[in-house]
């Protein structure tokens, strides 16, 4: 698997994803500066976490206009897999590659903790190694992760099996403590209609090494490597 990681001014999880991808794929990803106007031929494009442009104005809004993002969007429309993590998810909604928007957390505070998630669909390149309904855990760390979309959008996300992950408690259930940021429908990650673009707030790259407290995130990268080799 040949991957590209886009680096924006203010990205701060670019090295983390680089390490996780190298570990899963056996080869390091190409790091692409936001000012590039073209992308090498790759099997996967990742928009990493961080605070592109300081998260000023709106998270991801300024990064969405970076020269390279136009090329990312073009590739996505051609079917190249694109993964947006945290700030990368925000960039994807700002570009319109994914529907909805990520708003300020309901409690108006940054939240960082290890969060339980339920795997809502295994029908994607990204989630194929999980079991349907599996409860996993990954770190979250964000100020603006409250997923919002209107009722119609939510309905189509559900009907088209495009909700990838939901926040939940240790038993896989919803409830007051299970939603860390007030997201509608406890949405933590979604797919586009073509299922080649995934955006999620949790950080799989931070749980891809047993020393760091968990490996549930590694399955996402390993799943991608397998799916893309097939």
């Amino acid at each position: 698997m040949r991957a590209a990681v886009i680096v924006f001014p203010g990205s701060n999880c670019d090295r983390d994803i680089q390490v996780a991808l190298r570990r899963a794929a056996g080869a390091p990803p190409v790091m692409v500066w936001h000012k590039e106007t073209s992308l090498p031929a790759v099997d996967l494009i990742v928009l990493p976490g961080g605070f592109s442009y300081g998260d000023y104005l709106r998270c991801g809004a300024m990064a969405a206009h970076s020269p390279v993002v136009a090329e990312v969007a073009a590739r996505a429309r051609k079917g190249v897999p694109v993964l947006g993590i945290c700030n990368g998810f925000q960039v994807l909604t700002e570009t319109g590659l994914l529907p909805g928007v990520l708003m300020r957390n309901a409690q108006l505070r940054f939240v960082c903790r290890t969060q339980h998630l339920s795997v809502e669909t295994t029908q994607s390149l990204f989630t194929g190694l999980y079991r349907p309904g599996e409860v996993i855990a990954m770190p979250i760390a964000h100020m603006d992760g409250s997923y919002f979309a209107d009722d119609d959008t939510l309905r189509s996300l559900r009907d088209e099996d495009r909700i990838a992950f939901r926040y939940c408690d240790a038993r896989g259930e919803g409830g007051a403590d299970a939603n860390p940021n007030g997201s509608r429908d406890r949405i933590a990650g979604i797919l586009n209609g073509r299922r080649n673009v995934l955006g999620l707030m949790p950080h799989p790259e931070r749980h891809a090494d047993a020393l760091l407290g968990g490996v549930d995130g590694a399955a996402l990268f390993e799943g991608l490597v397998r799916a893309l080799a097939a």
Binding site: L57, A61, V101
Partner: protein, 80 residues
């Protein structure tokens, strides 16, 4: 000239900041506070001297960057 842009959440979109302000005002003992909505406010200095062209350009800025029209509305004022 100068442009002033107000960006507000569309009605129907939950405004956690406005809600928190309302709550905090209540806690501080301010009675009779109803709905509170919070928005953004931008002042932009422009080299453009023609009000129409200025408005057009700011309109474009709003659509492309300053507002997320999925959830936000904007109002532009052009001042001398």
């Amino acid at each position: 000239m100068k442009a002033v842009v107000h960006v507000t959440l569309k009605s129907g979109v939950l405004d956690p900041q406005g809600k928190a302000v309302r709550h905090a005002l209540g806690a501080l003992g301010f009675d009779g506070v109803g709905d509170v909505r919070q928005g953004k406010y931008l002042e932009i200095d422009l080299a453009e001297n023609d009000p129409d062209r200025a408005r057009e350009s700011v309109e474009d800025m709003c659509k492309r960057l300053l507002a997320n029209t999925v959830i936000e509305d904007y109002v532009i004022e052009i001042a001398g």
